[in-house]
């Protein structure tokens, strides 16, 4: 396990570069992001451990970051002051672009994974904005209204025009930007996350009923209609967007407090990693049979949704997780309010 201290700053998000297996970005804020400066750190994994290659300081906490899919040296940040900034590692101190449109804290930024030209941001002001600097460098090209604090928004990895968002109002919304911008503002689906499943999951006794804030979600990288969500009730749910009325198809319970971040494995179609306010990061299988036999060690296979392992070395709220896209199928990075970024192999924490 490798460790890096983000002294003086409490990390909110960690992201692996999609271009280099040794490069990480960490966004953070002083004083737990409540008040004070923010910092974006670019970390390098070296033989001497993790080294900070570059850092950029901002006026307000950076709640999220994401790498450009088009340019290996560029990345976006989500600012507490409502700004979305684009940084280039080749330059120092200042961003190469900064857009100030959101009325409140920006909580997530995501780059379009399919056509790599646009990106999006989501904010406490209740909106998701789509940006396309090549078409319009002055501002966003589209605003999707949600009317509730949007904690996380994502592009589908399978389609460049499908955007999902989860928000405080306990709903997973799906927008299809190909639909006409009618009164529905491209909204094609709004799935109530707290709704019980049509077919009860065996052995699952929910600890909470009713709506809870949804804090994070992620698209499965292999099954193009599967999305996982998690939030304040500490339950991870997966939904199949082909049958939104069916409710969650798998529910995974175990975290004692809210789940802050969720990420599907880029290697295995059934494996998830989560970070929670209970200070643990846990590995899960959603029990889908498609994962069976892919990896005898990591793949969960059939046997129902369950926790496969947990890493409890963080000593404060765990805020961010990300998988390494390269090499062996278990390396990941996590960050927490203990001012630490940990890079570790999930396989070391699997239960016997």
């Amino acid at each position: 396990m490798l460790e890096f201290r983000t002294a003086g700053f409490n990390p909110y998000a960690v992201k692996y570069s999609p271009f280099f297996d040794s490069r990480l970005a960490v966004s953070s804020g002083a004083n737990f992001g409540l008040v004070g400066n923010g910092r974006l750190s670019i970390l390098n994994l070296t033989n001497q451990g993790i080294i900070c290659e570059k850092s950029f300081d901002t006026q307000d906490c950076l709640f999220d970051t994401c790498w450009s899919e088009a340019h290996e040296n560029q990345l976006l940040t989500a600012g507490g002051d409502g700004s979305v900034k684009l940084f280039d590692i080749g330059l120092s101190q200042f961003p190469i672009a900064s857009w100030q449109e959101h009325g409140r804290e920006v909580f997530s930024v995501a780059w379009n994974l399919a056509h790599k030209r646009t990106f999006l941001s989501s904010s406490w002001d209740g909106s998701v904005k789509i940006w396309d600097p090549e078409a319009n460098n002055q501002g966003s090209v589209l605003t999707l209204p949600i009317h509730s604090c949007v904690y996380s928004a994502q592009y589908s990895p399978h389609s460049s025009d499908v955007v999902t968002a989860v928000s405080r109002d306990s709903h997973l919304r799906v927008f299809d930007l190909r639909t006409p911008a009618s009164a529905s503002n491209h909204l094609t689906l709004a799935v109530p996350i707290h709704a019980p499943p049509k077919v009860p999951q065996q052995g699952f006794v929910p600890t909470s009923v009713g709506p809870t804030e949804c804090l994070t979600h992620d698209w499965n990288k292999y099954r193009s209609t599967i999305v996982a969500t998690a939030g304040v009730d500490g339950i991870i749910r997966t939904f199949d967007l082909r049958s939104p009325g069916a409710g969650p198809i798998a529910m995974m319970q175990g975290h004692e407090y809210a789940i802050r971040k969720l990420s599907w494995s880029p290697h295995l179609s059934d494996v998830l990693l989560s970070a929670s306010y209970d200070m643990t990061c846990r590995v899960w299988t959603d029990g889908s049979t498609m994962g069976a036999g892919v990896s005898p060690k990591l793949g969960g296979g059939s046997g129902g949704p369950r926790e496969m392992g947990r890493m409890d070395r963080h000593t404060e709220f765990a805020m961010g997780v990300d998988w390494c896209l390269f090499g062996a199928e278990g390396w990941c990075a996590t960050c927490a309010w203990d001012e630490r970024v940990l890079v570790w192999d999930v396989r070391e924490f699997m239960r016997g």
């Binding site: 992001g33 307000d60 409502g82 509730s148 600890t207 809870t212 304040v232």
Partner: protein, 511 residues
Amino acid sequence: MMTLSPGFTLGSRGISNAPISSNTHDHRLTSAFIHDFSPSFEHLHLPSIATSSPWQTRQARTPLVRPSLHHRPKPPPHTTPRRSSANTTPAQSRIQQLTSHLTSSESDIPSGLESVTSKSPSDIVVTCALRTPLTKGGRGGFKDTAAADLLHGAFRSLLERSKIDPALVNDIAVGTVLAPGGGATEFRAAALAAGFPDSTAVKSLNRQCSSGLQACVDIANAIKTGMIEIGIGAGVESMSSQYGPGAVTEFSELLESHPAAKECKVPMGVLSEKMAKDRKIGRKEQDEFAARSYGKAVEAQKKGLFDEEIAPLTVKWTDPKTEEEKTITVSKDDGVREGMTAESLGKIRPAFSKDSSGTIHAGNASQISDGAAAVLLMRRDTAERLGQPILGKYVTASVVGVPPLLMGIGPWKAIPVALEKAGITKDDVDVFEINEAFASQCVWCIKELGLDEAKINPKGGAIAFGHPLGCTGARQVSTLLYELRRTGKKVGVSSMCVGTGMGMAAVWVAE
């Protein structure tokens, strides 16, 4: 108090101890932070009556922002972060948000003004609220109308105005105090006669003067838990026909022999007189308050401010002089009298005290009245699906007990509890509807809670237009919501004291 898992360090250290951009600060501050700043993790421990104010614990906790928080770096000139609430700093709202992440379900998300006024599909909303006029007991427009007929009238108007399909209404709760048998039989009949199908259930309930509010709260809770989807909270009282000594069964020997139990029987006028004396609320103060209530009601009536909430009702009425039966349409509260001043009220003889030391009289106590009110409630997503217009939302309610002989202090104890549940302070509230059972108790509660009198009963209260016991709680909802909407304000509280020593309060938000 929430239990923190191992590894959390509890302490009194707050943000002021954490130097901005220091390399050395203790990373185990998190929980101390949340603990210090969280509005939700501390409960209001009500102090014993008359020793201290229920606001005290809140005041002790109010300074959420400490000086160091203001050392926020100035944003560059082109950035202008906007905040939804002017009196919440960014740090405060971020702390509130974090705190909400640490609670286990929506029901205990600490709210604050922002979340009280925010909209969620699961909100319980009011899509129609109305009342009949309130008329003088024994003499007014409804003196010959049965309680069930008044209720029938309110139901008809509600169906007409809301255009809701009556078959969609699952349950109706009706608050009433005096009706024999609780009125259960005739209210069910009234619902059927008003056009509700037999699939719509009806119940009656009695929590004395708060029955109408209790009915609304019961329906809201039933919707919240999923027991029903759409319901009506209502209240009705015909004091003309049912007020009198017959309303209370004779006390048994057992009750008579128990000192506290026996006190439940003391007439409210008598105990209010005693309370006014004990708490030193003078005659002049009461008369001034009563005169203001009359003044506000007269003005509101002249400006037509009650027109939106009142549904006129056509009834049979016997002229007391000619004994001739007429059909009349009542569209105005007939108890509102012009020209009432503290001086003119000062001349009325006290009603509950033989000597001249008495302070309570017919002019500074609530009027005996007839009337009905109804409130249509459902979830926000239901309302949106049905295209029902949303007047406002129900946030939360409280019910408390106080000594029977001090029943008038009920609002003093109930209001802080409701505000605490909603996570807001008295300053966040724009309008209070506090029932004026007696000027003495109302004045005492307002003074003791330190409320701004300009926010209390802006259209007058029960002293000016009456207090049909079971109706009042439901009546306040329409009075409150229409007033908030008219003035472009948001947050309202309705509250009342309850005979035998209780208090209720509820928080509403107009939209």
